[in-house]
Amino acid sequence: MQIHKHDAIIIGAGGAGLMAALYASQGGADVAVVSKLYPTRSHTGTAQGGIGAALGNLDEDKPIYHTYDTVKGGDYLTDQHAAKILAENAVEAVIELEHMGLPFDRTSAKRISQRRFGGHTRNFGEELVRRACHAADRTGHMILQTLYQQCIKNEVNFYDEFQVVDMIVVDGAVAGVVAIELGTGEFHIFHGKASFFASGGWGRCWSVTSNAHSLTGDGAAIALRRGVPLQDMEFFQFHPTGIYRMGILITEGVRGEGGVLINSVGERFMERYAPSAKDLASRDVVSRAIYLETRAGRSIKNRGYMHLDVRPQTVNRYFAEEGRDRADFIDESMVERKLPDILDFCRTYLGVDPVHEPMPVQPTAHYAMGGIPTNVDAEVVIDAAGRVMPGAYAAGETACVSVHGANRLGTNSLVDLVVFGRRGGMKMAEYVQGADWAPLPRDAGAEIEAEFERIRQGAGKSRPGELRQLMQETMMENVGVFRTEETLQKGIEDLAALRERFYKDLQIDDKSRVFNTDLMEAWELGCLLDLADVTARTALERKESRGAHSREDFKQRDDENWLKHSLIYQSGALSEPAYKAHFDKKVDLSLWEEEVERGLPEAQQKFRPVERVY
């Protein structure tokens, strides 16, 4: 096996990985970015609407308001000190992105333009605020391109199309990772003082998803298999507006520009569910409302979808009703200019022109709030007390800081990856200066190589594609927006049966080495099965409803018993793993505790966990 030696190994080349690469290399570390995709293919590039930062370019705004929205949006499971860091660092991080050349849209004062987004408010919920800094509806694309370009400028080492499949742990510390070079099928060892997981989410556990085919949670599954717990896995966000049946994301920015959700009787139903924020309530609230409307028989054609209407006449009618200034009214050319990609998707895939017709939308599996637990410097922590695993880092969707709590606010994924990618990169540069090289075990890589050989030789009858589809269907049906003990039990049983087939009856057609995507997809399916399993199991144990986790048999949020994070551990053989979930990690409530200490009366406390009203 070829061995590559670099101070810092970064796994994944999306926003978090590239941000970490830039800052770690600027901090003097020898960095290698190892990614299964060419960097510009990463899923950060599909983020649309914007990146939240309290720049105050159009409305009065402060980081503390952004902190409040993030905590409230997370249904109070958000760690408050982390949310504060997120909101404060967001401002400088966005400015730095602009300094790197990111082409944000501009205001008439030549500053970065900002738009409204769900759950983002001024003065602790008083009114919606323009906070999402945007470049048309392709903000993520611009972030990804800009960071990749800066990495080229800074001559960062890239190992493109090298898929990381295992991590090497020596005496409780990470000594590197094992990867397959896709072009040759050869195994390589990346020996590093630090390894940084920025490998993205696992939306491909579900059948309707906005996520790329490559989002199979490799990094999180690898960590789980090597003894790292995963945190808050029961919280997975369904974005309310995916294109009907396809799941392709329609940005919340559509509603930020005035678009409204309409049911089959022509009603703007969000007025009933969220009288103040309406269509721009947080995503969990809107997704549930769509399901409830569907159950009440008010989905379009009774097929489980709603209309998202951004036609100027509709938007302006509601603007007029709300008494908005005529200057805010929109016209067709504005829709074209502000939402070009959305129009393109609808025209291409649906033959629907959103300027003249409403778009058919349904909730789509979108974002993992949970993941590899880290502290605010992206260091991986492996227990409730926050013990750091030396040499291990994680940021972006694969990590759980936790800034998103039980439900992430729109734009905060981009904020998360630039803020914690950056902090982690800096921290890692510092760490590798003082750290020694852990010697590699003699048999490093042997175990995973044997596992791949087992998969490659698969001569059973179950194709990975079929198993994956069955997994996605059971997750959609049983571990989706609404859950009960019964559905979750069913999900766990189905997953066990699929796991049995995956380990005993797999069929692989491609036995060759070069670009064996049959083999890689099968291995990725194994990752998805593990992540689906821990999602269903933690969801079963959490007997309350909070944020994106809605238990119909436990409808209320229960702060007394459940205001805490889950940590789930896996042990045993991959084919028959044992799981243990703990609910003993405290939520950081430090901002509220400060308010109490300052003697603020309850009514004036902003960070006290209260019922969420939008």
Partner: protein, 247 residues
């Protein structure tokens, strides 16, 4: 409807299949609104797992699945069956070495991109107030079109000049340079114009226009190349793009 796929294949690992060959697959129950990518997945997942292709986002943003579909460069995820009919021929994009089936070696393509300084350069001190650099929306829109590039290689591998000479940087790299040359905040426009006035730069473009319809992002590629040519001839990046054309 039934659709027949005829796919150009090779597997360098298997001596019998190392030479390129065509293979046909029949798919039943195809909906006209299905994406070509979904159909390739159906072939891979239901009939032959060894069919190899790159793909990721599946909605035309990541740029992984460029291929030649019925003789034209397309992203498989952005083209529907109703656009191509019931006989679909799929080949790897041309001009780059084929590794396996629909997968080509992208390294030469990215090497060309890296040659044109595709990154923002501005060595002035940062604004003293710690805030963003200023730019008017009109200046921002000058280079909007070329910011859309996803480096899928549809344009470059549709270009006869690139087919004839693989050293030509190609349309995508020029688009990548254009994005910075016409950014009012950038300072390395002159250096990029120097690079592109070299023999393998813009002058290899014969204005054949294949690149423009090939672009899945609707970038006016040939126009962008023309603007770079004009900037080289005039020795300046100022006044090349007519701002009056921008709302």
């Amino acid at each position: 409807m039934d659709v027949t796929f005829k796919i150009r294949r090779r597997n360098p690992d298997l001596p019998d299949l190392a030479k390129p060959y065509w293979q046909e697959f029949l798919l039943k129950d195809v909906d006209p609104t299905d994406r070509v990518l979904e159909m390739l997945h159906r072939i891979k997942w239901e009939q032959d797992g060894s069919l190899s292709l790159r793909r990721s986002c599946a909605h035309g943003v990541c740029g992984s699945d460029a291929m030649r579909i019925n003789g034209v460069n397309r992203l498989a995820c952005k083209i529907l069956i109703r656009d191509v009919g019931d006989k679909v021929q799929v080949e790897p994009i041309l001009g780059l070495p084929v590794i396996k089936d629909l997968i080509v070696d992208m390294e030469p393509f990215f090497d060309h991109y890296k040659q044109v300084m595709p990154f923002f350069v501005n060595d002035d001190p940062l604004p003293a107030d710690g805030r963003e650099r200023l730019q008017t929306q009109a200046d921002r829109e000058q280079f909007d079109d070329t910011t859309k590039c996803i480096l899928c290689a549809c344009c470059t591998t549709s270009c006869p000049s690139f087919w004839a000479n693989g050293h030509y940087v190609g349309p995508a790299a020029i688009v990548g340079a254009h994005r910075f040359i016409f950014d009012s905040r950038d300072q390395a426009g002159g250096e990029r114009l120097d690079i592109l006035s070299e023999p393998n730069g813009v002058w290899r473009c014969r204005t054949i226009f294949n690149c423009t319809p090939a672009c899945p992002r609707d970038i006016e590629v040939t126009k962008a190349i023309g603007e770079v040519k004009l900037a080289i001839r005039k020795g300046t990046n100022v006044g090349i793009i007519e701002t009056s054309a921008i709302h």
